[in-house]
């Protein structure tokens, strides 16, 4: 919220620099986003009197002026403006002047003629037409009053203020006003806040002669206040008001409209001015919209209304949406003669729901949503009338309409000085607390340890002791908070079980050379569809975000694969030679979920890798090694996800449960995800790992007796997996077989087509004695028999 400093200074002294003011306000609870000095934007621009104008010989649109800027010699200035006349006063940016945007004026040469400055238009020096209407309508700004050449133009044009951009906290709607921030400034700086004395000069009159108001819903409209101004003379408002509005970022329009905006900015009360000549039958009804009712709002859109919305209506039609947008018909025009000011309070939640439903937000609705105090409506109405007096804009009648059936009444809060001190960790004396609260316009009695406080009407946020403790603390000063250490037990905290697991996973994977990525957990449903999953695959049921930023972030992912593939594709696209990436994140499983229930969030690890060193086996072994570290042993079962290469993929089975899948990417999936190089992708169910992980047991003692090693080569069909042969060997080898490993595969001319020869190294050992051939030979025979019988794998001779 932008507030001009000169406006604040009408109501309180600010005896410090703008920077010091900003710092002090921030430290005492009123945020300041920045300070804009209008004088910095425009410098060294003065009133200039055009003494003579002559044609530029090398240009058909430029002229050469001689301009008196109050110096000993007039300046020669070349300009292309169409409205240059001898004797006019114009703003002149002298050499060395600064214009908005940091433009610096230098001595120039325009088509061969020297020019020592620039004559300015209004916009060139931040002066909109409504702030200082120029004589005529094109080109240079022409002053209408007489000023001495060389005078600074900024005070004349109303652009010499310092503007403070406040950031008001959500609990302080009362500070969305000049009075609000001036009040805080006074408390902060230790100065005094002087609210103007509000007196209205009136003429006799009766409301009912001008308007019939009927507030039918006092719940949604707790207060409706109206005053009539007759014999209105529409015209521009005075310079001081236009200047204040302009500095606050509001366009000046005419005296009546400007008064409504001025009062809104000053008091925080949105106001509406009706041209009573255009209010049908002089009836204003505040009611809920009827079933099926529609309204065309000022922006020309027809809007469907619901019965929860509050309307301002005449006897037949809704003319405006209460607190959101007025009607076009009753707008103030130059012909307006009788005006009604409406200052009302509306239920903030209702306004919020209405603006949401209609997608229509205005300055007024924003204020009503945050909370406008009903108790101060009348004061704001009177302030508007006082300004009507001041501006001579019309005659205020003495009768007032004010429907306020249920005043909020005094809210009494009691608090304990000791408890407040306990809360803020300080020792502020009760008297000091009382002084602080009184400076905030609260009524305070201090009785021993007990503070009894009545907050002013506009402080609806003060509800309990905690609220008071904050008021005390922020005025006393947050900088006085001490640093103390927590007392009590000092045992170190622990990570939760899931994080203990993922911490280890992180460590293992980074030691294996993988880099962690973090992706968005909502994705495009199309990406999941691109995986080619079967129609009944649960991963195709995804939780939808009802208000996503876009289609690409519209569903909660049920698998991490698309996200990881996205990163893989990015790395390939950027010609990174190799990338081994992983992500750990929940996936959102809605299997069996009913409406109103949360999804099952299953912690999942996904690995994606490509590069010269990367193949299926590398990734498979990273996963197996990791699982092994948690004491989980798996069998490798050939089997592919739809997005895997059908011949290069496996499921890792922990007993009957599939804990992980690993596979090279299917060429179709590569195309779908714009992955160009062979890529291996793995997904691991970390939730299952959390359940299956075991603690490490006791160590095995090292063997005391030597082992016997036998190497064998078995010839088998290509289709026979090495894993199945190893399993067969291990089973047949029994207790004596300590270890069985493959060390070579031979395919070639010495074998029949479709066969391969696989060499195994078998280690036998008896923990209690040295083995002899007689011990080993029968076991070897058993192994060879088993391999031949169940897998047709025969000894290669």
């Amino acid at each position: 919220m932008k507030v001009p400093m000169q406006w604040i200074k009408q109501y309180t002294d600010v005896p410090v620099s703008a920077q010091a003011f900003q710092d002090a306000m921030i430290m005492h609870g009123t945020g300041v986003e920045g300070i804009e000095d209008q004088c910095e934007d425009v410098q060294n621009v003065v009133v200039g009197k055009i003494l003579s104008v002559r044609k530029h010989e090398n240009s058909d649109h430029m002229v050469i002026c001689s301009v008196d800027v109050g110096e000993s010699e007039p300046l020669q200035i070349v300009t292309g403006a169409p409205n240059v006349h001898e004797g006019d006063l114009v703003p002149v940016a002298k050499v060395g002047a600064v214009l908005p945007g940091g433009v610096k004026i230098k001595k120039g040469k325009l088509r061969g003629v020297d020019s020592y400055g620039m004559c300015c238009s209004g916009p060139e020096i931040n002066v909109p037409d409504y702030l200082y209407p120029s004589v005529g309508d094109k080109g240079l700004l022409i002053f209408h009053e007489d000023y001495a050449p060389g005078s600074d133009v900024r005070p004349i044009l109303g652009v010499d203020d310092t503007i403070v951009d406040f950031e008001i906290l959500a609990n302080r709607p009362d500070c969305l006003s000049v009075w609000g921030v001036a009040r805080e400034a006074a408390v902060t700086l230790g100065t005094e806040f002087h609210k103007p004395e509000i007196k209205v000069d009136t003429v006799p009159g009766r409301m009912e002669d001008y308007v019939h108001i009927d507030v039918q819903d006092t719940e949604l409209c707790p207060r409706y206040c109206a005053r009539i101004v007759k014999n209105v003379k529409i015209g521009p408002s005075p310079m001081w008001m236009r200047k204040a509005l302009n500095a606050a970022g509001v366009r000046a329009i005419n005296n009546i409209v400007d008064i409504t905006n001025y009062v809104m900015l000053e008091t925080g009360h949105p106001m509406h001015a009706f041209d009573m000549a255009k209010v049908k039958d002089k009836h204003i009804i505040v009611r809920r919209a009827n079933e099926g009712e529609t309204i065309v709002t000022l922006d020309g859109k027809e809007r469907d209304l619901t019965t929860s919305m509050l309307m301002i209506a005449d006897q037949t039609n809704a003319t405006g949406i209460a607190g959101v947008m007025g009607g076009e018909e009753s707008e103030i025009t130059d012909e307006t003669t009788t005006v009604m000011f409406e200052i009302a309070a509306f239920d903030r939640t209702n306004i919020r729901l209405t603006t949401r439903a209609l997608g229509l937000r205005t300055e007024a609705s924003g204020r009503f949503e945050r909370g406008v105090c009903a108790a101060t409506c009348r004061e704001a109405a009177d302030r508007a009338c006082q300004l009507v007096n001041l501006l001579g804009a019309g005659e205020v009648i003495d009768d007032v309409y004010d429907c306020y059936p249920n005043p909020r009444g005094e809210q009494v809060v009691t608090a304990s000085v000791a408890r407040i001190n306990d809360r803020i960790g300080m020792q502020v004396p009760g008297e000091e607390m009382a002084r602080i609260l009184r400076s905030l316009e609260m009524k305070v009695t201090l009785d021993g340890d007990t503070l009894t406080v009545v907050a002013p009407d506009f402080r609806e946020d003060i509800e309990n002791e905690a609220d008071l403790s904050e008021e005390v603390l922020r005025i006393y000063g947050y900088e006085h908070i001490q640093s103390t250490l927590l007392r009590g037990e000092t045992a170190p905290g622990t990570r939760n079980v899931h994080m203990q697991l993922t911490d280890k996973v992180h460590r293992i994977l980074s030691n294996k050379g993988l880099y962690e990525i973090r992706c968005f957990s909502f994705i495009s449903p199309k990406l999941v569809e691109k995986l080619g999953l079967a129609q009944d695959d649960p991963r195709l049921n995804m939780l939808k975000v009802t208000n996503p930023l876009g289609e690409d972030t519209s569903v909660m992912r049920t698998t991490l694969v698309p996200s990881v593939l996205g990163c893989i594709a990015l790395n390939q696209n950027r010609n990174n030679e190799t990338a081994m990436l992983y992500e750990i994140s929940p996936v959102f499983d809605v299997t069996g979920r009913k409406a109103g229930e949360l999804p099952h969030e299953r912690s999942t690890l996904c690995i994606g890798a490509y590069g010269e060193q990367v193949d299926f086996y590398l990734v498979r072994d990273i996963v197996l090694d990791m699982l092994d570290r948690f004491g989980v042993t798996c069998t490798i079962v050939p089997g592919a996800e739809p997005y895997h290469h059908p011949g290069r993929a496996a499921k890792l089975m922990a007993g009957d449960a599939c804990i992980a899948t690993v596979g090279e990417l299917h060429p179709d999936t590569m195309t779908a995800f714009e992955v160009t190089r062979r890529t291996v992708i793995a997904e691991v169910n970390l939730e299952m790992l959390c359940e299956l992980r075991t603690k490490m047991g006791h160590v095995r003692s090292l063997p005391k007796f030597p082992a016997v090693t036998r190497d064998i080569a078995l010839v088998m069909d290509e289709a026979t997996t090495v894993g199945s042969v190893l399993a067969c060997i291990r089973k047949a080898g029994g207790a004596l077989l300590e270890q069985a490993e493959m060390f070579d595969i031979y395919r070639g001319a010495q074998l029949l087509p479709g066969k391969k020869s696989v060499a195994f190294s078998l280690v036998f050992r008896n923990p209690d004695r040295t083995l002899s051939d007689d011990d080993v030979n029968p076991v070897m025979k058993k192994i060879l028999d088993a391999c031949e019988r169940s897998l047709s794998a025969t000894l290669r001779l």
Binding site: Y478, S483, P492, S521, K544
Partner: protein, 344 residues
């Protein structure tokens, strides 16, 4: 030639040969020539029979002395040659230690994980337990129990993604605090790290998905000063002893009083720079004393217990810590970016 003369000659020749020998083969040949079965000394010893009996002992003694001397010389030469040969072998085996090899370098956690881990270490050291909770959350836990009733304008500050009317993508990790208060009895000391969601378009400093860590302490006697002490300790552990915190008044519906917490600018140490926009401070945390309404809603007696809470955005810390200016780099997963990170 008498024996003495012969011995002298043998020794002279031996000395010359010892000089000349430079390898193991030469040495073995020389040893054989001097001391072997048909060697010079052996032959001389055999010829001793021709000497008169009374001279033999002396002659034998002389020959043995020479033999011992030569043996010692040969042994010395032997070890010298062995050493030389080993040196030659080692020289042959020298490799270019600067030659690069294909290998897989160590990987790394994501910078957000690195910072999160560091913060968790600091807080577990102060007795805080780590608690995680669901990312898709009931409105009830995310808002209502935190004193953000439906249609409250303070909800505007947290543009929310909805799944259903009563289910949201959590906008902060505070619902984990609410869940904890409902299930654990005080004293409570927890930190809740995790991913959170707000409907912000992606740009250099915003992301609809980001990470937070929030902390909560509930006990009978905690104060705002304890909050400051805790956050001071956190700031020092993270950035060093010269870093302190500054509290500024603020408003959060779930705390009262509330504070924005600034840290001494980690870039300029408080002198004022581009990073802190000249103020010497950087805004990093939100914090405050838990609103008694929140305690009561979460089943904790606000007459008996007080609490404080704080929350920090991890991306902000990450960007300050590593000098990252565009947040998007954190989520796109380029290895050239990721491979720059390591644990401190």
């Amino acid at each position: 030639m008498d024996m003495q003369e012969q011995l002298r000659k043998i020794q002279e020749e031996a000395a010359a040969s010892l000089e000349a020998v430079s390898d193991k083969a030469g040495l073995d040949a020389l040893r054989l020539k001097l001391l072997g079965k048909k060697g010079d000394l052996t032959m001389l010893l055999r010829s001793m029979g021709q000497l008169p009996a009374d001279m033999r002992p002396k002659a034998g003694q002389m020959i043995n002395e020479v033999r011992e001397k030569l043996t010692a010389q040969l042994d010395a030469l032997d070890s010298k040659i062995k050493k030389l040969e080993q040196e030659k072998k080692l020289a042959r085996e020298a490799i270019d230690v600067t030659e690069p090899r294909k290998h897989t370098p160590l990987g790394s956690m994501h910078p957000v994980s690195l910072v999160q881990d560091q913060l968790i270490d600091v807080f577990t050291g102060m007795g805080f337990d780590v608690v995680e909770g669901p990312e898709v959350e009931y409105d009830h836990y995310n808002f209502e129990l935190l004193n953000l009733p439906k249609n409250h304008p303070a909800r505007d500050a947290q543009d929310t993604f909805y799944i259903e009317d009563n289910i949201v993508l959590r906008t902060h990790t505070s619902p984990v605090q609410a869940r904890t208060m409902l299930t654990r009895k005080p004293p409570i000391r927890i930190v809740c790290p995790g991913r959170v969601y707000r409907a912000d378009e992606v740009d250099a400093t915003h992301s609809p998905v980001f990470h937070q860590m929030e902390g909560l302490v509930i006990d009978e006697d905690v104060t705002m000063a304890d909050l400051k002490g805790t956050l001071d300790a956190f700031a020092k552990a993270l950035y060093g002893d010269d870093v302190t915190t500054r509290f500024r008044p603020s408003f959060f519906p779930f705390t009262e009083p509330s504070a924005e917490v600034d840290l001494t600018c980690v870039n300029c140490h408080g002198k004022g720079c581009r990073v802190c926009k000249g103020t010497g401070w950087i805004e990093v945390l939100g914090a405050g004393m838990v609103n008694p309404k929140v305690l009561d809603m979460c089943g904790i007696d606000s007459k008996k217990y007080r609490g404080f809470a704080f929350g920090v955005g991890l991306e902000r810390i990450v960007m300050l810590r590593y000098g990252i200016t565009d947040m998007r780099a954190l989520y796109e997963g380029d290895v050239r970016f990721l491979s720059q990170f390591r644990e401190d």
